[in-house]
Symmetry: C2
């Protein structure tokens, strides 16, 4: 399959989640892999690019991420809404959710984490920064972004290009209970 | 002025920022007050409702929040896009941004932080949870939500109601450099 994914410079990586999209967190260790939806993530630093994401300690993803020291953050397009909700509502301990939902993964070039391009607008390959207190107390996992890429049809030259003709790649933002809004309708603030 | 704001039950407070809106962080101490825009925030726990927000250590907001042990998180509607960008681009050390931009504030009932209702869809009054390591290393400030309220025209009975007739209150999501998308166009995932 042809890919529209192109590398994103690390100094632009935070822009991929700056606007608060719901993401898919991917992980793998010891021959197992998993994908879950996460509404709770944010950048915490531009350079080096660092992020925080809440991964509940009861999840299989948390177990794989801690064991491997890595995870992926993939940004699903609006067309994946049913898959996002499904993988956010079931555990991957007993089932390979990639196989179940027909999700293709490519291995990250730096850490080997499974990354999703088909249907996604972008991904970030992340190395966990161990912070036991934040992990234990707030389920908040910090990580450094070591590679990033985006679909050039919606993110190119370090900028999002959200248009009417790329609606399927617009980001999803979870309101709760399977209801999402789409990040659409660009507004430009008055220049300062 | 009539207000459309109604209290939000604390167990529903995380839903107000679950979808990643850009927010306004408000603070006050010793006769000074401030408001800044923040794209980087997220819930970290449902009950008790806790959130994390990145507040750079160089900002006046950080100084006021640390001194008072409190801050507000206000969720601006789309109609406030110019104000959001402006207060995110200037410091409040030398100027009262509320006065400069004609922003009305009401005092929070629990902690007295200035909260913005006019033009906003919701607010959360937050008590800082001191976490010196996360604050120092990641500028990440954890807090517990002690009160919350929302404009009943867009959030009622614990749920967002994003419709074509309340466009001015749809949330803003900052792509960067003054370009925002609006959280619009509700998608309902297929029930599980």
């Amino acid at each position: 399959m042809d890919t529209h994914f192109r590398p994103v410079a690390l100094e632009h990586a935070s822009r991929l989640i700056n606007h608060g999209p719901t993401v898919l967190v991917t992980s793998a260790f010891g021959g197992r892999r998993n994908v879950m939806a996460a509404a709770w993530s944010m950048p915490v630093e531009f350079t080096p690019p660092r992020i925080a994401v809440v991964i509940d300690k009861a999840t299989f993803t948390r177990e794989l991420a801690m064991a491997s020291g890595a995870f992926g953050v993939c940004i699903p397009g609006a067309a994946l809404v049913d898959v996002v909700y499904a993988v956010g509502s079931e555990s991957g301990r007993a089932v390979d959710k990639f196989a179940k939902h027909g999700i293709e993964a490519v291995p990250g070039s730096v850490l080997g984490v499974p990354l999703i391009e088909s249907g996604c607008s972008a991904w970030l390959e992340c190395r966990l920064i161990r912070e036991p207190h934040a992990e234990d107390t707030y389920d908040t996992c910090f990580a450094e972004v070591v590679a990033a890429a985006a679909d050039e049809r919606i993110f190119a030259s370090g900028h999002w290009s959200v248009r009417d003709d790329n609606l399927a790649l617009h980001t999803l933002h979870h309101l709760g209970a399977g209801h999402f809004v789409r990040g659409s309708g660009v507004l430009r603030a008055k220049p300062l």
